[in-house]
Every structure is written in C-alpha cells, then in structure tokens.
Symmetry: C2
Subunit: 335 residues, 2 copies
C-alpha cells in the first residue's frame, strides 16, 4: 500500500520481469487455457507480492464486457420505502462484488428512461436491475427492445420479463386469513397505488383469504389509491362508520397516518380497533402498541435478483419468476 506515485503495474511489466509472455501471465491469472503449474505459481506469487491488479477496463474492452451492472433506483420514493431499497441494494452490492462486478447507480422517474438509455448506449453496463416496476413500464419496454439482460425487483405481468419478488399475494392472504380466524370478519383496507403490480397482488391475497373463509367481500371497506394524509383520514372515518374490526394498511406510511387519526379520534388500538400493516419498515418500529405486520427480507431479495442477473449475463437459463418468502409477525395491535 506504499505505492504512492509508483506507476501501476501492467501485464507487460509482469511478463517482462518474469521472462514470460503476456499471454502466459494472462492465463495464469484468469485460469483459462492450459498452463504449467510452476509457471502459474511463479506468476501468482509475483503479482501477489507486487500487488498487481489487472485493469478491468482493458479486460472489459478485450471481452466486450464492463463488469458493471446498472441499478435503477426510483428517484421519488418516500421515507417508508427507503430502508427497503437501501437493504435490497446492500444485497445486490454484496453479490455483485463477490463476482467482481460493480454497481452503476442511476435514478429513474416513471416516465423518463433517459438515464437508462444513456447507460445502455454508452456501453457502461452488462446488465440491469430495475428496482421498481409499473404496470406500463417504459424502462422494461426499452430494455426488451435492446435485448440487454435485466431483471426486475418486484413483479410484472409481462411473461417475458425475468423477475424476483416476495410472494405478496400469499403473504397477504395468510395475514388476512389469520385475522379472519380471529373473528375479525370486517377488515378494512387502506392505501396502495393501483398502478403498482404489488398492490394488485396484495388485493388478490385479500380476496382469496375471504373466499377461503367463506366471507363475502365488501367493496365499501376497501380504499385503494389513498395516499395523502387527508384522504387517509377520510377513509378512516368511513371505516369507523362502517364499523370494521380491523384496518389493514398497504404500507407503513399509510399505517402511521391511520394510527395518528385513530389517536385523534380517541380510538384505542387494539382495544377498540385492530390494526395491521403489509410492510415492516423501521418507521413503525417504536410504535406503541407494536404493530402486526408482514415482514420481508429485502437483503435476500437483492441477493437473489443480482444472482439471477449474473446467470443471465453469463447466458445461463434462469427461472422467469422467483418468488421469495415472507413472515407474518403478530404483535399487540391485533391482540
């Protein structure tokens, strides 16, 4: 590490110093091609000692690879979602690094894939992870048109897209089933953006759980596309009028607002109203009472997404859709 100002070693330097050809050095390092065991070890010892590191750029140029994967992070996500993306990103990064890849980060907005186009056209990445999906997704359209390897974190209905997601439908179904079994037969739903595939999957789970329990669905207690505080408050008011037993929130931001509203109305949780959330961000962590919720392993999601992308880049076959598990965490708010 003392090599301040010392010029970086190249493969030629190593070859010259050892009296072998560049090809030999290259083979010793990559492990590809036939090479004598002793030669190999001489090279390895030398580069170890002199801290030679190949220039990934040059390597990439020769192989027409970049050893970068692009990660598209939504630019506009809220505090609630941040920990999820952060943790997922850690999973991606760890996996990438373990395969000697790096992460090229870029931000996306729903209707602008300029950054994505730029990254692809500039030949800066070998593949891409899309961290969010829309029902009509121009990013996906573009990537498909280019034939570049990519996977999405989160589901799409597009059968051609390689995707990795938590099993939101079954997670939801299970949580709602449990609540229904607790004799909470009127479970209100608040939150979620309808154009997000995940919202649709959660709704499916909600519906299935009711079907399984033989309980009729009541559309009047389902409030989708409700995200702003005022709208949430109104939704809660209506749910109170409808005398639901429990309010299930599509995410923690919504849940937070629901809890605030209930506090204002002097409705005690869980005594007078049960509450559950389909998400478990750290934002609700310290709430009293503690909140029953679904829990997902974001890091694992990142890991699996990245591994899948790697397979894709290397031309291996992968599952078109990978669904990861979930946990139902029962806490005070539904006791």
């Amino acid at each position: 590490m003392e090599q301040l100002n010392e010029k970086k070693l190249t493969i030629s330097d190593v070859a010259e110093a050892l009296g072998v050809s560049k090809s030999t050095v290259s083979r010793a390092i990559s492990g590809k091609g036939r090479i004598g065991k002793t030669t190999r070890e001489r090279v390895l010892t030398y580069i170890e000692k002199h801290n030679y590191k190949p220039n990934v750029l040059a390597k990439g140029l020769a192989q027409l690879k970049t050893y970068n994967i692009g990660v598209m992070l939504p630019e506009d996500y809220s505090v609630v979602d941040l920990p999820f993306f952060q943790t997922c990103l850690i999973g991606i990064e760890e996996t990438a690094v373990s395969m000697d890849y790096d992460i090229l980060l870029t931000m996306s907005r729903e209707n602008d894939c300029g950054q994505l186009v730029r990254m692809v056209e500039n030949h800066k990445v070998d593949g891409i992870v899309l961290m969010r999906t829309f029902t009509k997704d121009i990013h996906i359209e573009y990537l498909k048109s280019q034939g570049i390897p990519f996977v999405t974190v989160g589901s799409t209905n597009d059968q051609d897209v390689i995707q990795v997601d938590n099993d939101h439908k079954n997670a939801c179904r299970e949580l709602i089933s449990i609540l229904l079994m607790k004799k909470l037969s009127r479970i209100g739903l608040i939150g979620g953006i309808e154009s997000h595939v995940v919202t649709q999957n959660r709704l499916k789970g909600y519906i299935e759980a009711h079907k399984e329990a033989g309980i009729a669905l009541n559309q009047d207690i389902v409030f989708v596309n409700v995200e702003k505080e005022i709208m949430i408050q109104r939704a809660v008011e209506k749910l109170l009028q409808e005398q639901v037993d429990c309010i299930a929130c599509l995410d923690d931001a919504v849940c937070m607002h629901v809890l605030n509203k209930l506090r204002k109305e002097h409705i005690a949780v869980p005594k007078q109203m049960k509450v559950a959330s389909f998400y478990d961000s750290s934002i609700l962590e310290n709430n009293l009472p503690s909140i029953t919720s679904l829990s997902f392993n974001a890091r694992e999601l990142g890991t699996v997404a990245c591994k899948t992308l790697m397979e894709l880049i290397e031309g291996n076959a992968v599952k078109q859709r990978t669904l990861l598990g979930y946990e139902v965490i029962l806490k005070e708010s539904t006791m």
Copy 2:
C-alpha cells in the same frame, strides 16, 4: 431505437461509410484537433442519423480514464439519515451525468475500506466522493496514500482534504442564539456521536452562542453520545430535573424519542417545554406541534461536492473547504 439485434456501430464503421479515417471521425466527435467544418458536419449528421454512440470503455482505455466516480455510502445509516443521503445522491448524480460521468456506488463501514480499495485498485473510478467522515478515517488515509482525487461530504479537520459541508457551526450558533434571545436561557442538548466531526461543530456553535449572549455554559445539561432510546429517556429525565426551558436535539431520531418521552411524562410542548432539532428530515414532518429546526439543502451539497470533484479530476485548483448555507426554521415547538 429500433436496432434490436443490429450490432453496435463503431468508429470504423462510421469512417468507412463516410470514406474518411477513424482519426477524422474521432476529432469530429470530440471537437479536439483541427478539422474542416464540412467534414465535421458530415460526420455529425451521420452519427446522429445512425445513432452512433462511442464506446466509453474504449475511450476510457485510450485516455486512461473511466468516466465513473465512486460514491461511498455508509452502509449502516438510520432511517433519519436516509433521506439526506438519498437527496444528496441525486445532486451528485445529476451533476455527474451532465458531465457524462456515471456513479459507481459502494457501501462503507467505519473500519473497513475493502470496497474502496477494490474500486481503486480495479481502476474503476476517476475520483471518489466520501459521503461521511470520521475523526480518524481510514478511507481518507487510504485515498491520500494513493493520490487519487476525492472530496468528502461533511467536514474533517484534516487540512489536506477537499471537503464540502453545510456550515453546521454557524447554523447551530444562530439557532441557539435565537432561542437564547427568546429568554430561553437554559437550553439542554441531547444526542450526537462525539467522534463525528459534525457533532463537534455543532457543539462549537452552541458554545459560541452562549458566549455571545454572555450566558454561562452548564455542562450538566449537555448529553453527547446519547443515541439509544433508554439513554435518551434518562437524559430527558435529568433535563427535567435541571429545569431546562428548552431541549435541543442533535438530530431527528433523537428528537423523536425526546418527544415520545415528554408525551409519556405529560409535559406539553411548547407550553411546558420548548423543543428544537438541528436537522430537518422528513421523519418529523408531520409532528404536532411542528418542530423548530435547522434546514440544509442536501441536493445542493451533492451538486457542489460533485462539481468540486470534477474540477479536481480535471486538474483544476479548488477550494480546500466549501461551506454551504442553512436555514433556521422556527415553528410551533419553540413558540
């Protein structure tokens, strides 16, 4: 955009199609070197029409540049800090992209600079932005030893390090001064990690404000290194015993806990106790009462940091330290 499966154009293809040399094409694109106006336009029109994009890898290899900057994000930050880093990152990204650079993202832990070393040794970046600094910072040590361009977001006492930060000392001084002028002469302080330079700067501001107001400092109402909930609760108890007029929190996570504790103790804010925070994350956004706090422009911070790094990479002189502004936002909690 219809070029699915069509092979990427290279500079040779363009040269051949136009009956000129590769050098000419290169010059037309880069704008470097003498070139005839008409030739130049012919080339530009052609590449525009056929959507030719230079291979940045090859360009980089020829120039020994990568057109990437590395951004080190702390891996372990909390919900409170996330929006800050996120917004700052957006500023960095926008600036980088505008200069045709990309962001190589990596995570750091306090005592592990493995990822950083990897990124540098693999020749993957032309410069680096460190998103967080420590008083004794191995990342900084390493980068200095390598002589690679880098800037830090956040302050260091190291005079050799190019740094960009908000003026936390003066921000703090001004907020505390205002509070002191409001006849709140006993202002307790809670939170902050002493080894962070920012904490030291905030403390300096706190001290200066007292000096200017001619009010004696009282060490008994200053609680640094208090981060966990239980410790914060104890600190609040002690501050209540000491009968302070106001509690100033080093950040919003701490403030959140302070507010919870006060609520538990049935102390009304602001009636019985004023509260202020040195930070304005969105986490406290919806609090009632609204919380007086300092406000910083994270995006601008990112922009300036990135611009500074660019100058550095291009070998231009830059200010060793750039201090950006702040706002004091007075709200209900100190009324």
